[in-house]
Amino acid sequence: MPRRPIEPLLWLLFSAGGMVVALLIPALVFLCGLAFPLGWLPAPSHAHLLALLGHPVTRIALFLLCVLALLHWAHRFRYTLYDGLQIKHLNEVINSFCYGGAIVGSVLAGYLLWQVP
């Protein structure tokens, strides 16, 4: 693989993403993915969530969480395919799929958080 000066930056974003994901996502999955839908805890009211999302700090924090988590996924998944399945001849396709997907997802996250009333 040729040396790319962008590689250290990708590693840095991977680490930052890994940290943010480890700190915030377990609690979010437990609450939004299990406790609220299954009724273990009372789900927050629509008005409460709207007020929470209405605050710019929440939106910026969620946007950063989404971007870093997606870049973390891109970097790690790329190496999962690379090492796990050893599909090295498809390197270009894998890179475009992973980082391209992360960029598209980030833009979508930005749009969805922007248009919250």
Binding site: A22, V29, C32, F36, P44, D83, L85
Partner: protein
């Protein structure tokens, strides 16, 4: 008569460069040892991270579309397939968090006045930060 190649730490390129010996590795090499399997499972946790970003954005979209679509989202997220997916995701993201924090002392050796702080302190402070962050998320979502 073969040409002498000097024994240097940077050997000059010769046209007798031997073909590298690369044994073919099985695609399922990571099933052979427990440590390898743990490695691949840790790497796969990223897929569930990506899924959760999608789930979170769907929640945001539902909330901004109004109360009715938020209620629909809640009942959809209670359907068995989504619950099982989120249960598996919870396992993987906790696995990611634990392995990440346990690795932290190796990844960032902290020095204080020239002395290296014991690794267990770094790990412990990471777990403390995890507890604080989780409590903050719960406090914000449960209404403060």
């Amino acid at each position: 008569m073969p040409r002498r190649v000097p024994h240097d730490d940077r050997p000059a390129y010769t046209e007798f460069l031997p073909r590298w010996y690369r044994p073919r590795m099985s695609t399922y090499w990571w099933l052979k040892r427990r440590a390898y399997l743990t490695f691949i499972l840790r790497e796969l946790s990223s897929v569930f991270v990506a899924w959760f970003v999608v789930f979170l954005l769907m929640l945001v979209a539902a909330v901004s579309r109004g109360e009715e679509s938020y209620r629909q989202f809640l009942s959809w997220s209670g359907s068995p397939v989504v619950v099982v997916l989120n249960l598996v995701s919870l396992f993987f993201v906790v696995f990611h968090a634990v392995t990440w924090f346990n690795l932290a002392p190796q990844a960032m050796p902290v020095r204080l006045r020239g002395k290296r702080i014991p690794g267990s302190w770094v790990t412990a402070s990471n777990y403390a930060a995890w507890a604080v962050a989780s409590a903050l998320v719960a406090w914000l979502l449960l209404g403060g």
